[in-house]
């Protein structure tokens, strides 16, 4: 198979970027999208040119590193996959393919397709945890949790922190990411003590990072490789509102 690839190139955080076109040839349908880029990069290297910078690590859909907008959709128009799980058999021979970084004010481009997603870490740092120290915890089976609650918490906890939700949202909102962590912990008995404080701290950090608001487009859910549900956002809003009303400060 052969393709014409249009890729975003940007040499550094402050540089001006532009799309660059490359013909790629000798692609087989079994290849993954990233293996196709690998091949192109080999060619660029052989010509003494800088390869395209992009993030990846596990290449099996769990680390959340890979982050390309393919033909206008974060990770690709295919549902419930990460960039690394896209295969070339999903494309037609001869296709033009457009590849860009995840774009958002809070995700500045570092180089080519690599963006800075530290803002996500700072949202977690603001309160995305249960404040227990190591040691001195009760026997694990002293905390009984209904199976449905544990499963539902796991549904929310499955988020891989890739940022596709932000890249898909017209407002670059991080609500789905933030809500998923609040829902994971908020559905478990261990997470109750700090439930309100957590929702407030995380939402406030999210706003401080410059992410936009949710205006119910639901693009985030469609783009999410782990199919995290938008219902968590409503839950987060309730937690946040309740916490704000009852807060002592």
């Amino acid at each position: 198979m052969r393709f014409k690839l249009h890729v975003w190139r940007q040499s550094g955080p402050n540089a001006k970027g532009a799309m660059e076109a490359h013909d790629v040839d000798g692609i087989t349908p079994e290849m993954s999208f990233l293996e196709m880029i690998d091949l192109l990069n080999e060619k660029l290297l052989a010509d003494g040119k800088e390869p395209i910078a992009f993030e990846h690590d596990c290449r099996e859909g769990i680390c959340g590193a890979c982050s390309m907008v393919i033909d206008g959709v974060p990770h690709s128009p295919e549902r419930a996959v990460t960039t690394c799980q896209v295969h070339m058999r999903s494309f037609q021979d001869g296709d033009d393919i457009h590849v860009e970084p995840f774009r958002a004010k809070a995700f500045p481009v570092l180089k080519d397709l690599v963006v800075d997603r530290d803002a996500f870490d700072r949202i977690i740092q603001a309160g995305g945890y249960v404040s227990v120290n190591t040691g001195g915890t009760p026997d694990a089976n002293e905390i009984q949790i209904p199976k449905v609650a544990a499963e539902s918490a796991m549904d929310a906890a499955a988020c891989i922190g890739c940022g596709a939700c932000v890249a898909a949202c017209p407002n670059a909102s991080a609500m789905l990411f933030t809500a998923a962590k609040i829902a994971h912990l908020g559905q478990l008995p261990q997470g109750q003590v700090e439930r309100g404080a957590r929702a407030r701290a995380m939402v406030e950090q999210m706003d401080a990072e410059g992410f936009g608001n949710c205006t119910n487009h639901y693009e985030c859910m469609d783009a999410c490789p782990k199919e995290i549900h938008v219902e968590w956002i409503a839950r987060m809003n309730r937690d946040y509102l309740k916490a704000s009303l009852t807060a002592k400060d």
Partner: protein, 637 residues
């Protein structure tokens, strides 16, 4: 090199408690005056960083990833062991200890393994308190499954994403400490060397991967939690960025490297479909609970699986190992698959594959029940191979997965360099020459949450502050070396990519130092590796500069270290004239083709000591004694 394992006296079950009683403590008010550097924030590093910050130490943590949440630990699927005995099926600390020593084929230190089994239970308590959403029964208590051929159900799991959930638990605990200002977190910063002076680790030299800046970082103690080196084979189940640089650089500064040839080849990887393949995806071991492994009885049979009648199928694991069948340990299952393929019975691309068949399971319990157990794995397989495992058997082949070898550590997890500690997969660990399923997560978290935070206190209380600042001569010298090396790499200006050398090395290692090894093959590898290395240093191409984000440069530095380390691995494999666990020497096998251990001559850990680039490394030995688990031949017949 003086190797003192510092195993505490007393009965094995009391050693750890006694040791904790006897360790020196750091006064709480003084803890913040001790700076601890932790390199790596996977399960081992993140848990250690959080726990030590909670205790009051001044922690500075490093990862080359953009976030601690991306560490390779995130990919672990199957589960984590603990001796809780919740299912009431006869498990105990003793049994977990026994299974681990035996499963490791008697090449680990009994005292460490016993401690691991002891603290395994605390890990589960800790993780649940953090909110890790482990699987549960309808009554609300924790669920367990049997994993990796264990006779008891001791594995805790969170769907097929146990590593992810455990890592997020540790990452969140770490995030809390970052928020409190107790941990300085440095992401996208790669450690390129360790600084040692006057017989003590003084800090590290790092490179900021975004700005290219090379920086010296001083501390009172350094901890390496940098993971394993399976990627020496190029293709492995590990994440692409996993590498040996941190531990290999420490080795070159004087830390003993133990058992580098002990590598685990996992039996159920998806075989590469061609040269373009960039990594092997693991299919969870749990599939062997219900899947049956077979190859055609007739060599060269190319009929599609479903057209091969029962009479022409050889369920070779069930045939050779009637009592364990498809659930034999990883090393045994992998070698048996290789044997079948070598004999011409393999299937799939290049005849390097065997069938893993769910037909009988689907008939027995129904498609829905199979889907409930393995649905996500089946989808993953389907997605990658475009073949539907509900209808046709999976094709699988062994793949490099885990490295039992690593930097030598004593009972306190300190390397042979005072002040340099090593935890998680990076140390030579408790798994001997073969690791049992679901025990790496356990070991990483045991080290990070429950062992190191104690033992490092003892070191700091005795040794005191380092007193060497980052502008001392020992730092500037190492910094200059790091800069010179980067400059040399950039100046080669050749034609080939770092990846192409990595792939070439990987093929050679897989061939000669993979699932089975021979004297001849290893000697050939030892001749070839320096040739590849020389080609690398004269023909590698690294466009761009060292002053910004340059992924080719990062990769080249890691490949350069693999190209040296591979030699150490082969040398170790050559020296160990026996077969044990994952290390199989063709010359040492029983008449039935099983591994032949030679306890009289090789019941030790091989600890290699760097002697300069032009001299062979020196071999030191830590002899293992087995007082509690009697030396015996593993048999799965």
């Amino acid at each position: 090199m003086q190797l003192d394992a510092k195993i505490p006296d007393g009965p094995i079950a009391e050693k750890w408690d006694r040791h904790r009683r006897e360790m020196k403590l750091v006064n709480p008010a003084n803890k913040r005056k001790f700076k601890v550097i932790i390199v790596g924030t996977g399960l081992a590093g993140a848990s250690a960083a959080a726990s030590m910050a909670e205790l009051g130490y001044d922690v500075e943590a490093f990862t080359f990833h953009d976030s601690p949440r991306r560490a390779h630990s995130i990919a672990a699927q199957g589960g984590i062991n603990a001796a809780k005995n919740y299912p009431n099926d006869g498990d105990s600390i003793w049994r977990l200890f026994y299974d681990t020593v035996k499963g490791g084929d008697f090449r680990a230190r009994e005292a460490n393994v016993h401690r691991l089994a002891q603290v395994s239970n605390n890990i589960i308590d800790q993780c649940v308190a953090q909110g890790v959403p482990f699987a549960r029964e309808y009554g609300g208590l924790l669920a367990n499954r049997s994993f990796g051929g264990a006779q008891v159900s001791r594995t805790f799991y969170a769907r097929g994403q146990t590593g992810q959930q455990l890592l997020l638990g540790a990452y969140q605990a770490l995030s809390r400490q970052i928020h409190l200002g107790k941990v300085t977190m440095r992401t996208r910063e790669e450690m390129l060397d360790v600084v040692v002076s006057d017989g003590r680790a003084r800090g590290i030299v790092t490179r900021n991967l975004v700005t290219g800046e090379v920086v010296s970082r001083a501390a009172d103690a350094v901890v390496l939690a940098t993971g394993g080196y399976s990627n020496v084979f190029f293709l492995s189940t590990n994440a692409k960025a996993c590498n040996v640089t941190a531990t290999y650089r420490a080795y070159k500064r004087g830390a003993g490297f133990a058992n580098p040839c002990f590598t685990q080849i996992h039996p159920t990887g998806i075989p590469p479909s061609g040269d373009h393949v960039s990594k092997t995806t693991l299919m969870s071991e749990s599939l062997r609970n219900d899947g049956r492994v077979w190859t055609p009885t007739k060599a060269g049979d190319t009929r599609p699986a479903n057209q091969i009648p029962e009479a022409d199928r050889d369920y070779y694991l069930e045939r050779r190992y009637p009592s364990f069948g498809n659930l034999v340990p990883r090393d045994v299952a992998s070698r048996a698959a290789k044997e079948r393929c070598d004999a011409g019975h393999g299937v799939g691309p290049g005849g390097r594959g065997v069938f893993l068949d769910f037909r009988d399971a689907i008939q027995r319990v129904g498609r829905d029940a199979v889907a409930a157990r393995y649905g996500n794995l089946f989808d993953m397989y389907h997605h990658i191979t475009d073949s539907n495992p509900y209808e046709t058997p999976m094709v699988i082949y062994p793949a490099p997965h885990y490295t039992m070898g690593g930097l030598w550590v004593d009972y306190n997890l300190m390397s042979s360099i005072p002040g340099l500690h090593v935890i998680g997969e990076a140390n030579f660990s408790d798994h001997g020459s073969n690791r049992l399923g679901a025990s790496a997560l356990m070991q990483g978290l045991a080290d990070g949450y429950f062992v190191l935070p104690y033992t490092i206190g003892d070191f700091l209380a005795r040794a005191g502050n380092s007193g060497v600042a980052a502008d001392a001569a020992c730092f500037t010298e190492v910094e200059a070396e790091v800069n010179a090396r980067t400059a040399t790499l950039l100046a080669v200006n050749g034609k080939r990519s770092p990846d192409s050398f990595h792939a070439e090395l990987g093929r050679l290692m897989w061939d000669k130092c993979g699932m089975s090894r021979t004297r001849e093959g290893l000697e050939e590898a030892l001749r070839r590796i320096p040739e590849i290395r020389a080609a690398f240093w004269s023909d590698v191409s690294i466009p761009g500069s060292g002053a910004d984000l340059n992924q080719t440069l990062e990769k080249a530095g890691r490949v350069a270290d693999f190209l040296e380390f591979a030699e150490l691995m082969c040398r170790d494999a050559l020296d160990r004239e026996e077969s044990c666990g994952g290390h199989f020497r063709e010359e040492y096998k029983t008449e039935e083709g099983e591994a032949l251990r030679r306890d009289d001559d090789f019941c030790f850990g091989s600890v290699w000591e760097y002697q300069g680039d032009d001299a062979p490394p020196a071999l030191n030995k830590e002899h293992f004694t087995f007082e509690h688990v009697p030396l015996s031949t593993r048999s799965y017949k």
